[in-house]
């Protein structure tokens, strides 16, 4: 009796929802470019964090707020940098790429744990991303598909969950979160100062900050309330449009515009870079490879700026 041919399992079908009709060669290239882009981003982020934390500690005592077991973080950092360099230089070696991916996943997990409880929120996501890249053989088409689909689903879940959490916390229905941040954070408020009536900003700033009883932090300017509610709707809707192949291209552009808009006020360069890189994984073209030189230049410029202007705030 011949062996029965089994159809795709439920797991396969679920993962494949994030798939496309590109060839395995394209997928392999996209995954390698994403891996390099993520390694580059987190390496620079850790470099700036570790190198300039000492400057902050000397300048004012609040540097101690971020005090971490420096020795372990400093060990993980060069390891991550070294793995990134190995992956670039020995890109043709299957074994080197595989061990580089495993090392990056381990290093990212170590950094994530060591920095607790101050770990940046995108580090656990990066740990999972590097874990998926390490788990799957870069020269096996079936495993490449698993990594690609898994990484796309990872980003979709992150985006959707961010919107869901805003609903669960209930501080976006009347612009509460935006109102509070505009009232208490000068950097966050700066883009809004161009748009909002000065009287509304003054009113919010007069509410008393983070003192018990201060408030109510609700927007009386309807465009801010509209933007506030649009934020979580967009975060929960975009994953659906990214998943549907018919709307994927438009959703990629919408997601990129959304993240660029979101990261302007808080100046979260590195999280923004990771979000852009993960979004581009949905594209048909290997945009992460195209943008690698630009990311490199941007991060070098930021490192120089931070060393010349210690007061320059970004993360």
């Amino acid at each position: 009796m011949a062996a029965g041919i089994r159809g795709p399992s439920l797991a396969q079908r679920v993962l494949a929802l994030a798939g496309d009709d590109q060839s395995p060669t394209v997928h392999a290239a996209q995954l390698r470019s994403l891996q390099l882009a993520l390694l580059l981003t987190v390496s620079f982020e850790l470099t700036i964090y570790a190198a300039f934390r000492r400057v902050r500690a000397v300048v004012n005592v609040s540097g101690a707020f971020d005090r971490q077991p420096l020795a372990v973080a400093e060990l993980a950092l060069p390891l991550l940098l070294g793995l990134s360099l190995l992956a670039v230089v020995f890109a043709r070696s299957r074994r080197a790429r595989r061990w580089g991916a495993v090392g990056a996943a381990v290093a990212m997990a170590v950094v994530t744990v060591v920095l607790l409880p101050n770990t940046p929120n995108h580090y656990p996501m990066l740990t999972l991303a590097f874990g998926m890249l390490a788990l799957c053989d870069p020269d096996d088409a079936a495993e490449q598909e698993i990594a690609l689909h898994g990484l796309r689903w990872l980003f979709l879940i992150v985006l959707f969950a961010a919107g869901l959490q805003k609903v669960l916390y209930g501080l976006y229905f009347h612009g509460e979160y935006f109102a509070y941040r505009i009232a208490t954070d000068v950097t966050f408020a700066r883009p809004f100062e161009w748009l909002m009536p000065a009287s509304e900003i003054e009113r919010l700033r007069s509410l008393g900050g983070m003192v018990a009883g201060a408030g109510p932090y609700r927007s009386t300017w309807w465009p801010l309330t509209l933007v506030s509610n649009a934020t979580y709707w967009i975060e929960m809707a975009l994953p659906i449009f990214l998943l549907l192949r018919r709307t994927r291209n438009a959703a990629i552009i919408a997601t990129l515009v959304f993240f660029l808009g979101m990261e302007v006020a808080p100046r979260e360069v590195f999280f923004g870079a990771v979000a852009v890189q993960m979004t581009l994984l949905f594209a048909r073209r290997d945009w992460n490879r195209v943008l690698l030189p630009l990311w490199t230049v941007l991060f070098i410029v930021l490192t120089l700026l931070r060393s010349l202007l210690p007061g320059l705030a970004f993360s």
Partner: protein, 163 residues
């Protein structure tokens, strides 16, 4: 007449998935497991923030920007001769600042997972006459219902003899 089904070893091997196929299936399940764990963590994280005063911006709950990061304050008290709790003045020494600031930072993010036991031990060491100590942590956050800042206090009592 009974039909006999002949099973050759080759036929048995064909009916079983290859090692490569089993490996692919296992990895697919692992990846799905990671994704399921991430999704399940979201409501768990929300519960932990409510229950343990975690900072919503930390611990990978994807709640950054869902709420402002909480602010905390610490108060130190001791029982007077009349049995009343009165504020305690803690001498400010440069060598003690890292301990206090470290606790401050960790408590702000990890909430009730971080106890002020080390602070209490240090304060008792600084003042040999102190017999009991109360440390009150105040956590201020933005309340969704009223859109006002609310304060929640957690107190810890210590005695020199460890009671």
């Amino acid at each position: 007449m009974t039909l006999r089904t002949h099973h050759s070893p080759q036929a048995s091997r064909l009916s079983q998935p290859s090692r490569a196929t089993r490996a692919v299936r296992m990895k697919r399940r692992l990846v799905l497991g990671m994704l399921a764990a991430l999704l399940a963590w979201v409501p768990v994280h929300r519960w932990l923030v409510l229950r343990l005063d975690l900072n919503p911006w930390k611990f990978g709950g994807l709640a950054m920007y869902a709420a402002p990061a909480p602010k905390i304050g610490i108060g130190f008290y001791s029982t007077t001769g009349d049995g009343v709790l009165a504020p305690l003045e803690i001498p400010s020494r440069a060598e003690d600042q890292p301990l206090f600031l470290d606790f401050f930072a960790r408590r702000r993010h990890a909430g009730m997972l971080v106890r002020p036991d080390a602070l209490a031990a240090r304060i008792f060491a600084l003042d040999p006459s102190l017999q009991d100590l109360a440390i009150v942590i105040t956590r201020r956050s933005l309340d969704a219902e009223t859109a006002r800042v609310v304060a929640r206090r957690r107190g810890y009592r210590y005695r020199r003899d460890g009671g």
